[in-house]
Symmetry: C2
Amino acid sequence: MSARVQADRLTDFCTAVFRGAGVPDRVASVVAESLVYADLRGVESHGVVRTDIYLRRAAEKMIDPHAPVTLVRDEGCTALADGGNNFGAYVGAVALERAMERAKRHGVCALGVRHSNHFGTGAWYVQRAVREGLALIVLSNASQTMPPTGGVRPFIGTNPIAFGFPTGREVPFVLDMATSLVARGKIIVAAKRGESIPLGWAVDKDGNPTTDADAALEGAVLPLGGPKGSGLSMAIDILAGVLTGAGFGPSVNNMYENWAEPQNVGHFFIVLDIERFIPLASFTDRIGQYIELMKAEPKAPGVSEILHAGEVEHRLEQTRRREGIALPDKVAEELKALGDRCGVAWPE
Amino acid sequence: MSARVQADRLTDFCTAVFRGAGVPDRVASVVAESLVYADLRGVESHGVVRTDIYLRRAAEKMIDPHAPVTLVRDEGCTALADGGNNFGAYVGAVALERAMERAKRHGVCALGVRHSNHFGTGAWYVQRAVREGLALIVLSNASQTMPPTGGVRPFIGTNPIAFGFPTGREVPFVLDMATSLVARGKIIVAAKRGESIPLGWAVDKDGNPTTDADAALEGAVLPLGGPKGSGLSMAIDILAGVLTGAGFGPSVNNMYENWAEPQNVGHFFIVLDIERFIPLASFTDRIGQYIELMKAEPKAPGVSEILHAGEVEHRLEQTRRREGIALPDKVAEELKALGDRCGVAWPE
């Protein structure tokens, strides 16, 4: 039971819906592209399902779609951007553009961003840099979902880290990972099925490790690798939040729950011009060789192919670009209703 | 059953032993300091226990203690160093020095290193940068210990990533983590005790997940968080190895097993001058506030204090600086024998 929509038509629809809500063209199209990209790559949680909440944040003045993204400091290989509380994907895209220009000139650019919002998937930024032969590390903080190791309540976000490298092959290396062990969505699925979850995924509301999916949903998801993931999440928050002047820890506001203040999400981009180290052709030769060697390794029982980061998502993207994106009926209905409100027809 | 030695005397002893083996003074003292630092911080696997293998590598011409560390490219905010196959800790220390000088001038420096060796703990570099009010990300590759997700045999290293930030408090934020879920040492301990290990720590020699510690030791340790850790290890290898011209994947040679070729380890340093983003005093205020808030969080059952990355190690370091380092008899005997060979007395 799902509606299947071509990616381009879905992007056009979402763009029109954002425009219908008063979002400037250039902002609307960037945000829509970022959402559809997530759906193409199988990260539905960051896909067009977010259109509604993004628009509600804007309607409540919790997001300012008209704000410019400004560089409050710019010293070439370092810069600090203020997103003016515009949509995160727009803020991130403009900031990355500035960082890429500077990395091409100086070889590296470390650019921090404050006063932003939920910026979608890290992979979306990574592919933009990789297309231009650049390497990218992107970090973002997020509102509270995990306890620090030893804690009970959500205090740190599942702050993502993404790395991207061109490979000279069809599929770039794209690692885009949250610092939680598993997505909360997997626990929701287990709870619905009445199944238990492995120890280590979550704690209950008192901070006890639990295998009970319902208890886990009342508690919190855990960082990957215990103190390692907890430390990694905090390190990301320090660069993206503490260093930029954005929120950090509990002061990154939840977009679903806090209707009094903007989120104040922070991001941090490190863009590298590969050519400043070795020629791009040598780099892609070497990474290509790495991938070939890895794929030639003996495979574990039941494994038909060893994949590098980003391959599964790339294949999904190819299929979905060809065959369209299947949206759950509930999501399609919600989008249609949003379209109806501003006279934008659903692409049947 | 252990010998207790003061850190300074142990450093002096190891320095003298390296010098006795023909290692130049400046190299000997840096390598010795790095090893003792690991013992002080409770990372005994990277401590003075490595003196013997380091010296054997040098004796077999697999390490060149006389080689200079040169910048083969230097464009200010990016640079590429060639370690000349000197000891990793010396190569890393010189490279970091160069990177810090450049970061102070330009705001950021991304510096790659090739032709290096095992460089000790990431934390040792981090504390050097943090002392000067800089933030540091340091990556290194390592010889093969983990299969990629879906693989069977060791193919990627437990490539470490470390982050360091000054906090304006006694204890800096120092996250220094391998990308394996647990250290192989923990599996050795379980095997000796006849205990099983949790699922997810390791695979057996055929690539099957196992809870049998003996089978795990014949197999391989696993990355933290499955594909996340596998991807993170590979991303680190791409920056430290592929991009620098060092070895990567299977071409980072094992220092215990390969006596025909140098290791060709690669490192990657990203040094940030905090002042280019916000004033250092604001940064330390903010990170201090973050730490205070975290410590005030409710604690899980059995937890008396929530610690940030580097606190446990800092406390150990303080204690061991005061009370001395307790070395297992076997390690002390080995060191004494190394001292005897070149007429250096063991510090009783």
